[in-house]
Structure formats: C-alpha cells, structure tokens
Assembly symmetry: C2
Homo-oligomer: 382 residues x 2
C-alpha cells in the first residue's frame, strides 16, 4: 500500500508513521511538513520515504545541505505531491495538516488516490459538501480519522443509515465543572491542559470552549449526510465511548476504545481489516474502567448551538464559524482577550455575517479570509 502523509510532523502524522511500522504492506511514498526540519530529518532517516517535501525554504536548505538523504528525493513545493501521487498510483493519503493551507491541495488530491484519510478539520468544515461530491465522482473513499467520526464511520457502515440520531461524545474539556464566574480569568496555560487528549494548541482550546464539538457536528453532517437536528452531543468525561447511533426501535450501538488516536489511525490505514494483534497498552478492561458517565453539555458554552445553527443557516456560515473561532482562539492564546470572549466574539461575527453560497475552493477561501479580517478588527476594538 503506497502511502503519503501530509503533515507528517504533527500529532496525527507522527502517530501514523509510528503505526506504519507495524504494517509491513505500508510503503511510505511521501511525507510532507511545513518547517519542523529537525523532526522531519529524523523521519526521513527512519522511514526512508521516496519523497520528502518541506514547505519552508530555509528549512529546506538546511536539510538539503546538512543531511544524508539515502535516496529520498527532497523537495520544497507541496504541489509536487500531485504529480507524485499521479505518477506512482498512490493508494492512501493521510491529510493531517492544520488549518486551511492545504485545503486546495487536499481537494485536488481526492481524484488522485483511492482512500483519503482526513484529519484536517478545515477540509470538511469549510468544504465538506465539495469534498464529498468530488469523492463520490471519483470513487474515492473519504475516511475521517478523529475518534468520534471514525466511530460513526464504523457504526454507520456496519448498522446502516436508517438511524434516527447520531451522538458525538465530548470529554467536556478542562473546564467542564466550572461556573461562568470561575471561567472569567482562566489562562491559556490552564486551557491547554486537556484531561484526556494530547493535541495541538487550537484544538485544545476548542475542546475547552467546546467549539471543537461545533465543528464536529458540522463535519458529521457533511461526512454522513445527516441534518443537524439528528446530531446530538453528550458529555462523557471518560472518553471511552466515541460515538453512538440510535435506531427508531430504541436500540443504540456504541463504538468504544481507550482514548488513543493510534486505534482509529491504524484501523483506517489497514482498510477495515481488524485482524491484527494490538499492543497490550491499548486493550480495554471493563473491570478497570468501572464506570462510564454522561452529562449535558456544559451550560456556559453556546458552542454546540453555534454548530447546529451554522448548519441550519447553511451557505458560508460554517466557514465563518471556523474563521472567527481561529482568530479568537489565537487572540486568547496571545492574551489579547479573556477566555469567555472567544465565544462572544464568534457570536458577534455570526450575527453580522452576510452569507454567500460558495461554489469553489476559491469562494471558500475568500469567505475565510474576509471573516478573519473582520474578527481581527473586532478583537482590536474590543
């Protein structure tokens, strides 16, 4: 299986490479990163990919001059992955970059692979409809990599689409039990301390505000063609149940595992073949787990409602939601605004958003860019 990993030095990319070690049919055709050249150099040495693309020019030069490439072709332009994928008849692409940088490239790659494993939230939140349409046109399978959507993917594939509701679980983040008053002065450091998952900075803050669930609701809607009013979020602090589906007869099915990203990543990479022994550290023992608890979504955050509303209003609302959130989170991390201001700013942006119906990736990126500017302005005058 020929594999390319976009974002190989990130949280998902490093895990995917690690997982590939245990899959002997995996051939690492290409890895791509932005600028973390030290880790990238280690990955080139260890995994000896045929191609390695690093986007940052000075990082590229450092690598080119300093390291022994052992046959790996080092490149500087991410777009080269298009030609590489086409020429080598690639099987599987893991899209694990952060933000919108690779949005267009991801979209182009859909037609060049058999399976696109997607961990780039923006691709689905901003362009989910376009992505799913294109995948259907080219017979490419889109497989979500985050635990909740991978859980839904497994459940819906197995049990069918005649469900009455789907459920995404949420750990509730570090501030689950806080009152609004206690949240007034929480610091970025506190917000970055997630109880369960180790992730990048923005997604960790999004987990604290629960904005991550707003985006996951939107992703679930696009990935599985489900209207927002059939998607529920339930707080489940142990993060053992990742997703559930409910059928009209009152039966539920749940997908569960220890909260380790390696499990969905490996499962997705081996194309549904579960017949592999796993490391004992991923084995779940119900006698140790003792209990699974459930609660309503933290009352202080309107985040989930934002997601469902954005779906209902449609058009460019999901794009605006993401752009406003990204700028607001960045402003919080830079201590320009307090924690509770994040969702307040998003709400203001949404209330003033003049929706358009984006037809192309360019349309989407235009909305994204405009809303970012608006949000930055709003932060400045705050």
């Amino acid at each position: 299986m020929k594999l390319a990993i976009l974002g190989s030095t990130g949280e998902i990319g490093t895990r995917a490479l690690k997982v590939s070690e245990s899959l002997k049919e995996c051939e690492i055709l290409a890895i791509i990163c932005n600028k973390n050249w030290k880790l990238f150099a280690e990955q080139i040495t260890k995994y000896n990919p045929r191609y390695a693309i690093i986007r940052d020019s000075s990082s590229y030069k450092k690598l080119r001059n300093q390291m022994h490439l052992n046959g790996t072709k080092l490149l500087n332009n991410a777009d080269d992955i298009l030609e590489i994928s086409d020429k080598h008849k690639i099987d599987t692409i893991i899209g694990a970059t952060i933000g919108t940088t690779f949005l267009r490239l991801n979209y182009e790659l859909i037609k060049l692979c058999k399976r696109f494993l997607i961990a780039n939230k923006e691709s689905i939140v901003l362009a989910g409809r376009l992505f799913m349409k294109k995948a259907a046109r080219h017979g490419t399978q889109i497989v979500p990599l985050d635990s909740e959507h991978f859980g839904l993917f497994s459940l819906i594939n197995a049990h069918g689409t005649d469900f009455s509701r789907i459920y995404l679980t949420a750990s509730g983040g570090p501030f689950r039990t806080y009152s609004r008053n206690q949240l007034k002065n929480v610091t970025p450091k506190q917000a970055l301390n997630h109880p369960i998952w180790k992730m990048g900075a923005r997604i960790t803050i999004d987990s604290a505000t629960l904005m991550n669930k707003a985006f996951e609701v939107i992703e679930a809607s696009y990935l599985f063609n489900v209207p927002g009013d059939k998607i529920k979020v339930v707080i489940h602090p142990e993060s053992i149940i990742h997703a559930m589906i409910e059928y009209p007869n009152g039966a539920f099915f749940a997908q569960m595992s220890l909260p380790r990203m390696e499990i969905p990543i490996k499962q997705a990479m081996i194309n549904g073949n579960r017949n592999r022994n796993i490391s004992p550290k991923y084995r779940m023992d119900f006698h140790q787990i003792k209990q699974l608890t459930f609660d309503e979504v933290n009352g202080w955050t309107p985040a989930v409602k934002f997601g469902i509303d954005a779906l209902k209003k449609g058009g460019s609302f999901p794009i605006a939601l993401n752009a406003a959130d990204e700028v607001a989170v960045e402003s919080f991390l830079q201590k320009k605004i307090p924690f509770l201001k994040i969702t307040e700013i998003i709400e203001k942006i949404l209330n003033n958003h003049k929706p358009v119906e984006p037809k192309t990736i360019s349309d989407i990126l235009d909305v994204d860019s405009n809303v970012r500017k608006e949000t930055s302005e709003l932060v400045k005058h705050n």
Copy 2:
C-alpha cells in the same frame, strides 16, 4: 407474515402478542399454551388466531365448552403445530415455552419455518449444536430473543466474526453486593425480587445465583460458534449495555437499550427492519441515565465458571448443568435447601457426571432425565 407463538401465555409470549398489534403485516396463525386457559381465552378473543392449542386436557374442555371461538380452531395436541406450519407455509415461529417440554417439537419445527425466534433456553443449552446444524441444513434463521444474545446477534451480523472476544453483561441480580455470610439465609421471596427484569421464577433465581449467565455463555457459544474462552461476563447493574464485541485492534462495539424485552422481540419479529417509531417510553436519554457501571462477577458464585467448564468438557456436561440447576432451584423454591446449596449441589453433580456424546434429541432427554433423578436423590439425602 404468518406467525406462531409457542408459549403465548408466558412472559415472552404475551409481549410478542402485544408487539404484533403494532405490526400490521403480522398474521397470528397459531398460539400454543400449556394450561393458563383464562389468559388464553382472552388472547383468542383479542387476536383471533386461526389455531389455538392448549395442552392441558381439562383446560381444553373448559375452553371448548365455555367460549365463543369466532372461527379459531381449538386443539388439544401441541404436535398439531407441525401440520399447521407445513400446510400454511409459516414464516416465523416464536419458541417461548419454558423447560424441555417443547424441545423435540422445537427441533422438528426448524425445518418448517423461515425464521425461528428462540426464547426457550433449554433448546440451545441442551441441543444448540443439533439446532444450529439443522437450521443451516434447511436455511432457517435462528434468532435469539433474550436481550444479551439478541445484542450479540445484531453486533456480529453488523461488524463481522473476526472479533477477539464477546461480552455478556449481567445485572448481578438482587444479591450482587451480598457477602457469602449474608446469603446463608436468604429466602425465595428475596431471591425472586429481581432489580431489573420481570421474568419467570426459575430464571429469576438463576439471575440471583448467576447461573443464568452460565447458560448464556453456553448459548452464545453454540449460537455464534465461539469457544468458551472468548466469552466474558461483566457485571453491569444498569442493564443498559446488553452485549459487546471486542476486535483485535482494541475497538469495542456495544448494543444498548432500555431494559425492555419488547425491543429485541419487536426487532426480531420485523426481520431487521428498524425503521419503525417506537413508544416514547422505550426511548433512552443519556442525560437521564447519567452513568453505566461495570464490575467483576460476584465473587461468591462459581456459576460462570460452571458454564465455561461445561463448554470445555463438552459432551453432555451442559445438559447436566441445566438439569442439576433446575432441580436445585425447584428445591430452593420449595425451601428444601438453602440458597447457597444450589450451586453446591450443581457442583457435586458435575463432579460425578459421566459424560456421553448425545447424537439425538432422545439422547439429550435421557441425560436430562437421569441427571434430574440424580439431583433429586442428592437433595433428598442432603
């Protein structure tokens, strides 16, 4: 869909009739009961089956002389169901009688229907191998009706047979938190007070000793062709998760619902079509459920071990286990032996059991009868 219900006046039979009201394609071809003629008369009036068979002769005479049958043909011989099923090309038979009385009849009926929904534990525990072989030979689907096996049936059909383990949950019964010492003097009345499920007397006592899980382990092994060492029992007092399957990649799938027998019964009756609205009282709300807990099997009972051992030893051991348990439970209900003696007597019987390899239903009934006698003797001299 032409339906016959064997044991229509029992806990499962009455629910199946009730469920049939909401399924307009259901035609009640025949109902059969033992001797509860008052309830049977109500069922004949309400559901107007084409045939109604009551086994007890004096009850039969009462009905024949006293009630207006409105076209229903009243019969006295259970074996008539064979001819009826054959003549009318029956679709679905619900085998919901108690004990071994209908074992041979159930076995004969497999070849005369398309789907056999089985709630008669003895058919599978005593003759599971014979039943499954015959069903395969005739292309008849065997669908278990109890919540745990129906959960497994749904999960395995959906997710495939490449699992590493299957899990049956157990409420733990009324004595879950008792010490051995506290159990010495518990009365039949206390033991009949099950925290979750309303069931017949023997199965309720079996739930208190956890012998029901011994039988369920055996049933699961035969129904799904799984060796005993891949079957686990986990205590789950809320009885929301009915069954789970674990795959080698560390992922679990669980089937859940409120603990209402109507849910698997209806689902099984409509042949997998879940697209029906259900009564709001069967809707599960995770915000109300709050928590699901898990624990190891009650330390004071060797029951689950008995089941796994009986599977491992094979031959007639499962038959002996059932016969010994039935006599021991009856003796407890008649206050001939104390509660803890139930499993002690079973253990003695198993230790002295000379296994045979039963090839026919007659062989099975011989073992059953012999072990019952042995157990009665043991109780007498206790």
